[in-house]
């Protein structure tokens, strides 16, 4: 018998006896259909895109992520230039994309492009990572990235400042919709990596005090383009 058969066999044997459906104390146990979608319980999200953007803004602020609405790609580029100046950036990492290409051109800094592969030490010495994303989640202030939309796995986590370029149409109300969109888009051919990023990295491991900037980026900036 293979290990798989052994374990599945143990499970099937164990499950021969039914366990009571969840209740508290021993009130009458019945099997019933699973309760409603989590959207009934989770914090409410606004109806309109505008409300959702404002909610995202508030959440991003609480998470200590930078958030800025830009009227066009030029404005985004200018703003990132200011960040680069303030941060003393010498080299950035990025992937090619509709939104990243013009911004990178504008910045004019030496860059490491992750498309097609890269040397780890090159990426490690970048001051910032510039990516796009799959979606922005209003309910939690999160950025959903994937390997194809954010230049792989490491680009959005290794350099100390992560800058995300997103479109308004990428704003989704909550995690439920974000996951639905992902399933609709990729069907059975998912990228090997998807991540919800909610703020710059942090830790509470020292005296349970919150410290911003642990192993991942110390700074996260999200720019919303039309």
């Amino acid at each position: 018998m293979t290990n798989r058969e052994i374990i599945l066999g143990r499970i099937r044997e164990a499950l021969k006896i039914a366990a009571p459906y969840p209740t508290f104390h021993d009130s009458a146990t019945t099997t019933s259909p699973l309760p409603a979608s989590p959207q009934s319980w989770l914090p409410p999200v606004g109806e309109t895109l505008e409300e959702q953007i404002q909610l995202f803004r508030r959440n991003a602020e609480d998470l200590k992520a930078g958030f800025r609405e830009c009227t066009n790609a030029n404005e985004a580029g200018q703003y990132i230039k200011e960040l680069a100046l303030a941060g003393g950036w010498k080299k950035i990492g990025r992937h090619s994309g509709e939104l990243t290409d013009p911004v990178a051109r504008e910045l004019g800094l030496p860059e490491v492009r992750t498309d097609g592969g890269y040397a780890v030490n090159d990426l490690e010495s970048c001051d910032a990572g510039l990516t796009e994303c799959e979606a922005l989640v209003a309910q939690t202030g999160s950025v959903l990235v994937s390997a194809p939309s954010a230049g792989g796995r490491a680009l959005s986590v290794l350099p100390p400042h992560h800058v995300v370029l997103a479109r308004r149409s990428q704003m989704v109300p909550d995690l439920t919709v974000a996951l639905q969109r992902v399933q609709e888009k990729f069907k059975d051919n998912f990228p090997s990596f998807l991540s919800f990023i909610s703020g710059p990295s942090r830790t509470g491991d020292i005296e349970r005090i919150l410290v911003l900037g642990a192993h991942g980026p110390k700074k996260l900036t999200i720019l919303l383009l039309p």
């Binding site: 039914a18 490491a154 995690l175 020292i206 900037g213």
Partner: protein, 466 residues
């Protein structure tokens, strides 16, 4: 009393006498309570969320064979190696085998209680591999050669001064009392390790059957780095981690963060569905998922306590447990601490050896009240007690209980015994606190009340006569 129970008693005695440490743990948790309540209250209904979460886990665990099979098949279809591990030794052998096959020298690890459970680090180190814990708290306790203190916050028992001294001693860093500086010291060390490691080992918070992905929740980014750069990624996953659908995460991720850490959502929630796919610029060449049983199927077979497998390892029960807060995480002497640990350890490691954990509880129920998936934790402590007695009743206690029954079924005998108690009480007062005192377990630290001059039934009888 077996050796584990003895060790537990000694550790508990030692810890409860350490007032400074007890105070420290209380302080460390104070901020958590406020934040947890703040974010719970943002839910439209936290209790509705708990009901749904409990129902989803019930579905997953009670159809575990189906969902586990689906999970494994989908992973394999996209190039992941799935290893089914019936026990701890199987995992250890497998991981060492993979490491040897790839001529690995250094291994970087992100937090995994499952890996703790099977003592994977020790095995790998003995086999000659360097293993570094990348999670800050885990790294700290690794340097101190001690086990994690808490499921979610491994180093919460330490002050910043102790951590600074540790880093100064082991890493040669400057002394500092700034938590941010301490974090940066660890960050600098780890950055090299991520870039150089040949293999990354992680755990998983959830295993999504529908899409064949594991989900890892973290704040630091160390798990993402552990699983992005090394050319081999091995994930150790307990079989009970299964969730049926991807959409289930929309509920579980916020609940895990709120209950576990008092956060609305944890910083990184990452889904891994395979090794590097064609067209992806990075990611491991090989992705292995190890499905661990290690006696979980025994707990599964106990239908009464099966819901203990619904646990999402949030640590909320530890955070509210007055026993945990007063004896600390190390006193438990085993991987899983607090109420959930006290419930499952007898199943995973032996009832008679570990029943004392189920006995060391006042059954206050705060754990059950707080559990996001509504596990009937404190009642299971009662069930473990009953099971332990049924399997092997302690002779002395059996005698006492038989005597108790005999007396309580005979009201006149009960009254007579109480009368004897009244006569003997002054004698007890004489020897109070000494080894002759039968009530010593109580009177050592607390005053014991006198038996009332007249019992209620005597007062009632008197009253009836009037």
């Amino acid at each position: 009393m077996n050796v584990h129970a003895k060790t537990f008693n000694e550790a508990a005695r030692h810890q409860t006498a350490d007032l400074r440490q007890r105070d420290w743990i209380q302080k460390a948790l104070a901020g958590y309570y406020a934040k947890r309540d703040e974010f719970k209250n943002r839910f439209q209904s936290w209790s509705g969320a708990r009901d749904t979460a409990a129902a989803v886990k019930w579905e997953a665990v009670n159809h575990l064979d189906r969902y586990l099979d689906e999970f494994a098949s989908r992973l394999e279809a996209r190039g992941t190696r799935v290893f089914w591990a019936p026990d701890a030794q199987a995992v250890r052998d497998y991981v060492v085998g993979v490491a040897r096959q790839h001529q690995v020298r250094s291994i970087i690890k992100s937090k995994s209680m499952t890996a703790e459970e099977i003592h994977l680090n020790d095995t790998l180190e003995q086999a000659g591999f360097e293993v570094v814990e990348s999670d800050l708290g885990e790294y700290i306790v690794q340097l101190r050669h001690e086990p994690p203190y808490h499921l979610v916050f491994p180093a919460m028992h330490l002050t910043r001064q102790q951590i600074s001294d540790l880093f100064q001693d082991r890493l040669g860093s400057e002394s500092t009392d700034n938590p941010e500086h301490l974090t940066m010291i660890a960050r600098r060390v780890m950055r090299r390790k991520y870039c150089e490691a040949d293999m990354g080992i992680s755990g998983a918070n959830f295993a999504i059957a529908e899409t064949g992905m594991i989900s890892i929740t973290e704040n630091e980014g160390n798990a993402r780095l552990t699983t992005s750069l090394p050319k081999v990624h091995v994930a150790i996953v307990g079989i009970e981690k299964v969730l049926p659908k991807l959409s289930d995460l929309a509920l579980f991720l916020p609940m895990l963060a709120t209950a576990g850490a008092g956060q609305p959502i944890t910083c990184y929630n990452t889904l891994y569905g395979g090794p590097r796919q064609p067209g992806e610029p990075d990611g491991p060449e090989e992705f292995h998922v190890v499905l661990l049983d290690n006696r979980r199927t025994e707990l599964l077979a106990d239908a009464e306590q099966r819901d203990a497998l619904h646990c999402i390892r949030c640590g909320a029960c530890l955070n509210v447990c007055p026993i945990f807060k007063n004896i600390g995480g190390h006193s438990y002497g085993t991987t899983y601490q607090g109420p959930i640990g006290s419930v499952i350890t007898p199943h995973l490691r032996g009832l008679q050896d570990w029943k004392h954990l189920s006995q060391a509880s006042s059954l206050c129920g705060a754990c059950t009240e707080t559990c996001p998936v509504k596990i009937n934790l404190h009642h299971h402590l009662l069930h473990n007690r009953r099971n332990a007695i049924q399997a092997r009743p302690a002779r002395f206690e059996k005698l006492v209980q038989t005597g108790f029954v005999f007396m309580m079924r005979r009201p006149r005998l009960y009254e007579w015994a109480a009368g004897i108690g009244r006569i003997l009480q002054p004698l007890q007062r004489l020897v109070q606190g000494t080894v002759l005192d039968p009530l010593r377990a109580w009177t050592k630290t607390r005053s014991f009340p006198p038996l009332a001059e007249k019992s209620f039934r005597e007062l009632w009888r008197k009253r009836k006569k009037l």
